[in-house]
């Protein structure tokens, strides 16, 4: 029954932990690249998928944005006058 050197244990945790973190992220990076190329191939930018359903709750925001845009335009207009 030798005594455990906990610092050595912690260092082992570090090797395992950093290893898994990098493994995870490296695989993730490859998947991102793969996905990007697949999407580029099958869904080129010109035909973005848009939801077919009207979204409840969006109307209000849409409205606000429109309002803001109108106002911006109007105030722009007033300034230029």
């Amino acid at each position: 029954m030798t005594e455990v050197n906990y610092i050595v244990e912690a260092l082992k945790f570090m090797v395992l932990g950093m290893g898994v973190v990098f493994l995870f992220l490296i695989v993730l990076v490859q998947l991102i690249k793969l996905q990007a190329s697949l999407i580029q191939k099958y869904f080129p930018e010109k035909t973005p998928i848009t939801p077919t359903m009207p979204k409840i709750g969006d109307d209000i925001e849409e409205e606000q944005r429109r309002v803001a845009a109108i106002i911006a335009a109007i105030s722009e207009y007033s300034k230029n006058k």
Partner: protein, 445 residues
């Protein structure tokens, strides 16, 4: 003026009388109180005004703090099993020190603007938890109710993570995926400080809980602390949010020390446009990967991915808005107060808290340094130039760390906007920390 003096004199007479009678009656009164508790609603015994005032004096906070041997119990959301009779220090000076610490946190949150959204509720919770006799952190007190509702079962940190997910834009990471590795290197802060914590004498499990502070992610820290070392939850949460708040102070010197002026002036190219479908699939990809590699991290990554997927799907905007606003706000209020319950003197004023603070600082510095060094190495091997400063953003602390990177970069070379480039490692750091947390959980399962 005269009215005031009139009432004051009455009151002071009462209080004085009570104080005098106190010495002789105390034992008896105490005894009676106990009897009354035994049988609810027993016939009320008449008391003289002086006895009433004396009883009242017993229930004042002044008396509770001055009389350190009144048998007051500590409070714990888990109830009596985890409570004990307060020591003299816990009952008096300890409370005063904690209230001082709380005021310091108020100052940092309000005057300095350090992460006020969580530091302020945590500090206020700490203030409430240190009130004598009120037992607000007990199972029937407000803080205890909140704690049992969403912290003991880790529900609130996950809801926060869901909301953060709904607020996060992975576009910059998708545009330049290899910067994700910087978010990996910065996790050295976690594992380096794990070694440090063990060296300081913490056991492996406690050290693991503490080291997650280096991940610079509040909800992750709380989640892990709750699983591995619930007694240190308060100190760990306070350390995590404090250091996240101190990012603009801690990081720049380290960033400057490890890079040359030329490196800091490197300009990075324009990011490519990211397809909507890439953003839509990304949270699913991350989650599937977590499922395959380490399911232990899936509560965190699952909640985060759900929030992000809800946003990117574009069809449930009203739910995504709720996650980002009313829900996350409500949970933030509760999470802060609940975590604050762990700032009671008897829980916080232990030697471990000092250790946690020190290790947290080291972890933060180590993570920053590792991120910057990794970025330097990558810059050497990469075709496109990489400004090593963005490595510092890998610690996460979204979006503060990325802003600091951008600020330092702009100081070195006016007009050099690194913000979007720093956001990649920044959000990767969130994932990296969750993965690191999952590894530690899997070890101690």
């Amino acid at each position: 003026m005269k009215i005031k003096q009139f009432f004051l004199s009455i009151l002071f007479t009462l209080v004085t009388m009570s104080s005098i009678s106190l010495a002789t009656e105390e034992t008896k009164v105490h005894h009676e109180t106990q009897q009354e508790q035994n049988s609810q609603k027993e016939p009320y015994k008449s008391k003289t005004l002086s006895q009433l005032a004396s009883s009242f004096w017993e229930t004042t906070g002044i008396n509770a703090i001055l009389d350190t041997h009144d048998g007051e119990m500590t409070s714990d959301p888990a109830g009596e099993a985890k409570e004990h009779v307060m020591g003299a220090f816990e009952s008096s000076l300890g409370r005063i020190i904690m209230i001082g610490i709380v005021f310091l946190l108020f100052y940092l949150a309000i005057a300095k603007g350090f992460e006020p959204l969580l530091l302020l509720p945590i500090a206020f919770g700490g203030l409430l938890a240190n009130i004598p006799l009120a037992h607000m952190a007990g199972p029937e007190g407000m803080l205890g109710v909140i704690y049992n509702m969403g912290i003991a079962n880790e529900f609130f940190p996950l809801l926060i993570f869901m909301g953060v997910g709904a607020m996060t834009d992975f576009g910059p990471l998708l545009a330049n995926p290899k910067t994700a590795l910087l978010g990996g290197a910065a996790q050295f802060g976690i594992f380096g400080s794990l070694v440090g914590a063990v060296a300081l004498g913490f056991d492996l499990q406690d050290a693991s809980a503490i080291s997650i502070i280096g991940g610079a992610d509040g909800p992750t820290s709380i989640f892990i602390a709750n699983r591995l070392a619930p007694d240190m939850l308060g100190a760990i949460a306070v350390a995590a949010y404090s250091y996240m708040a101190l990012v603009p102070v801690i990081q720049p010197p380290i960033m400057r020390a490890l890079t040359t002026k030329e490196e800091r002036q490197i300009k990075m190219g324009v990011q490519r446009k990211v397809h909507r479908l890439e953003k839509l699939f990304f949270p699913i990809v991350v989650l599937m990967l977590s499922i395959l590699i380490l399911p232990e991290s899936t509560p965190l990554i699952g909640a985060f991915s759900f929030g992000n997927f809800a946003k990117e799907s574009g069809v449930i905007d009203r739910l995504s808005d709720t996650m980002q606003n009313s829900l996350i706000n409500i949970v933030t209020i509760f999470l802060g107060l609940g975590v604050g319950s762990k700032l009671a003197a008897d829980k916080f004023l232990v030697l471990e808290s000092l250790g946690i603070m020190i290790i947290g600082l080291i972890a933060f510095g180590a993570g920053t340094a590792a991120g910057v060094l990794m970025a330097k190495i990558m810059n050497k091997f990469s075709k496109e130039p990489i400004n090593p400063l963005i490595g510092a953003a890998g610690v996460s602390a979204v979006p503060m760390a990325a802003r600091v990177v951008s600020k330092v970069g702009a100081e070195e070379r006016p007009g050099n906007v690194l913000l979007m480039h720093a956001m990649g490692p920044n959000v990767a750091g969130v994932i990296g920390s969750a993965v690191a947390a999952g590894v530690l959980l899997s070890i101690f399962k």
